[in-house]
């Protein structure tokens, strides 16, 4: 981070870091770095900078005392900046909006703690608190609160779950045993993430597609190598055995490339797009082609194009009778 951090941004970070360290005298430097979200080298560089700063006069007694040679951090004589700077507008907003979203989670046991924290924070934030009321996150609440509660309890108690789960891309209802890892809300949907014994891999299950859930009286600790997915990246990652399909999209179907996992996109002069997809299963593409109607055409593979045409013809036949 040091390479992109401006002098002012670094000052802001130092003014936050100093009070934090002053209250944690003797903390292990690696632990401090991890908690502060920077590298150990960065913490050392920061301490070296603090070491030469201080109150006017800048005699040895005026300077901040920073010590970290033994791998433990001590910071003294920093009274003037030992209290954190007030929360900025974005800082207050981030926490207040997050707390308000949490407060609306159906069936949340910690509702009381959320309300208490929110009250203190809003008071401390003053005007920022009032402004942050205009930023909202409406987490999806259409999931039954008992489903959410059952799943959270299973995560906490390491209980295996049995799910009846609808897979829309294959139009199937499946049965599977899952060792739950966490319940996440992302992009307006709630998901259960867990080790799926049927897929023998980590999977995300959208809660509104869970037809039923049963807690099994079986230990549901996921395998030690099961890792939660990085939710910052797309939820879909292509595998090595995937097929390639190429679709031509008219401009009005341009949104497709934002919503589906495209591999490459070429833009034609007339605004049409040629998008290629890598996928293990072409069924969802067939579905997509039917719904896009005359806005899209399969270029490759030709077998998929024939399937799309054949399915459309069969479906239309039912309406003509």
């Amino acid at each position: 981070m040091a390479t992109h951090e401006s002098a002012t941004a670094r000052l802001g970070r130092l003014l936050t870091m100093v009070p934090w360290l002053v209250n944690r005298q003797g903390i292990d430097i690696a632990e401090a770095a991890q908690e502060l979200g920077v590298t150990t080298e960065q913490v050392e560089a920061d301490l070296a900078l603090l070491f030469v700063c201080g109150t006017p006069g800048h005699m040895p007694d005026d300077l901040i005392e920073a010590e970290w040679e033994q791998g433990r951090v001590f910071l003294r004589n920093a009274d003037t900046i030992a209290r954190p700077l007030r929360l900025g507008l974005d800082e207050a907003t981030a926490l207040i909006v997050g707390l308000r979203a949490l407060a609306a989670v159906p069936g949340l046991d910690e509702r009381d703690a959320v309300d208490r924290a929110l009250a203190k924070l809003v008071e401390a934030a003053g005007d920022s608190g009032a402004a942050s009321d205009r930023v909202r996150i409406a987490l999806e609440s259409e999931v039954p609160s008992d489903t959410l509660a059952t799943m959270r309890a299973a995560v906490a108690g390491h209980k295996r779950l049995h799910l009846r789960y609808v897979v829309p891309s294959r139009d199937e209802t499946t049965e599977r045993d899952v060792d739950p890892m966490r319940v996440v809300s992302l992009d307006g949907n709630w998901y259960l993430e867990g080790w799926c014994h049927r897929a023998t891999d980590v999977r995300l299950f959208r809660l509104d597609r869970v037809a039923s859930v049963e807690v099994l009286d079986v230990d549901g600790t996921p395998p030690t190598d099961a890792r939660p997915r990085d939710l910052g990246s797309a939820l879909f990652t292509p595998g090595p055995d995937d097929l390639t399909a190429v679709i031509e999209l008219r401009p009005d179907a341009g949104w497709v490339i934002d919503y589906y996992p495209v591999d490459t996109v070429e833009r034609g002069d007339d605004g049409t797009l040629r998008a290629s997809f890598r996928t293990a299963d072409l069924r969802w593409l067939r579905q997509l082609m039917w719904r896009l109607g005359d806005s899209a055409r399969v270029l490759e593979p030709t077998a998929l194009r024939a399937e799309v045409a054949e399915g459309a013809r069969a479906a239309l036949a039912a309406y003509d009778t």
Partner: protein, 324 residues
């Protein structure tokens, strides 16, 4: 003079902050120049003045309340500077361990989003003096929000600061038109960000989807130049604009097919080898998309406008792909 390294600048700014917090009386610029060693490197009075002006601005940008006060109560010809410690510091707050647990969770809401850094900093400030945390509570629950819309930051800032904006907005059909808005609120609804506000051209309240804003968002006028209605609730405004009362469809699904429809159906009865479902929907186009996606496995019986839209999609798909 060569510009000093970023580290030297941070050192200078930090010494300036400490100096202004340390003093009880406002300090004249000349005194500050003496007190902060790095100002000694300024080649001339003008160079120092420029440097000090910039530094002041940067401290204010960080939210540091820099006070300008007359040096002498009787003569206001020279300005002094100081930072009031009580104004600077976060008020003493004490949070219980369970409150810290929910604060931590709230900050992680933004983990993949533009406010991630602000949320983490806020948490560090709040927990500076409280070392105890309850790490065991709230296992397994993680609300997350994304801010993939490029306009999010500018729109959010405009909402927080009450500053009008202009932008190019894409309609559902694909055409873009310029819009001018006094933004009231910004909200994530069903996974998408929307901005509410007063449309200056249509002279009426309107809702816009951030994902349909093209290019850059420009600020118009000064912050705080209008009021937001006191009872404004962005979510219910978006909800009211974007949702319509549900209509009822009757569909026939093949055996084993139409699983998402079966889950939502209000009624189901056997019809030969098929199942007849009654399903509520709100958006005809979106529901026609979903049904067309099932291909031959699902057929709409009613209403006619839904039949028409499904048939239109399937016919289009056949026309474009049926030449093989």
């Amino acid at each position: 003079m060569a510009s000093p390294s970023p580290a030297a600048k941070t050192e200078r700014l930090l010494n300036l902050v400490i100096c202004l917090l340390y003093t009880r009386q406002p300090l004249a610029k000349t005194r500050i120049r003496d007190a902060v060693p790095q100002y000694g490197e300024a080649a001339s009075d003008e160079a120092f003045d420029r440097m000090f002006e910039r530094d002041k601005d940067e401290l204010r940008e960080l939210g540091i309340p820099l006070r300008m006060e007359p040096l002498d109560a009787f003569f206001d010809d020279e300005t002094g500077y100081r930072i009031d410690r009580r104004e600077y510091a976060l008020p003493e707050l004490s949070f219980e361990p369970d409150e810290f647990a929910v604060l931590g969770l709230a900050s992680r809401t933004w983990q993949q989003a533009s406010l991630a850094g602000a949320a983490a900093t806020a948490l560090r400030k709040l927990e500076a003096a409280d070392v105890e945390r309850d790490l065991n509570s709230l296992v397994g629950l993680e609300p997350r929000v994304n801010t993939t819309e490029p306009s999010f930051n500018t729109v959010k800032d405009a909402v927080l600061r009450r500053q009008a904006i202009s932008f190019s907005y894409r309609k559902a059909g694909g055409d873009s038109a310029p819009r001018r808005l006094q933004p009231w609120g910004v909200a994530n609804w069903h996974g998408r960000w929307y901005v509410t506000g007063f449309d200056l051209d249509r002279e009426a309240p309107r809702v816009f989807r951030l994902g349909r804003i093209d290019g850059t968002v420009k600020r118009l006028g000064k912050p705080g130049s209008y009021d937001v209605p006191a009872d404004h609730d962005p979510v219910s405004m978006i909800d009211g604009t974007e949702s319509t009362p549900p209509a009822e469809a009757v569909v026939l699904v093949h055996e084993g097919a139409g699983n998402t429809l079966r889950r939502r159906a209000r009624g189901a009865e056997a019809a030969g080898s098929d199942t007849r479902l009654v399903v509520d929907y709100t958006d005809t186009g979106a529901f026609a998309d979903e049904i067309a996606g099932f291909g031959p496995a699902v057929r709409v019986v009613s209403p006619p406008e839904l039949v028409e839209q499904v048939v239109c999609r399937l016919r289009g798909a056949l026309d474009r792909n049926g030449d093989a």
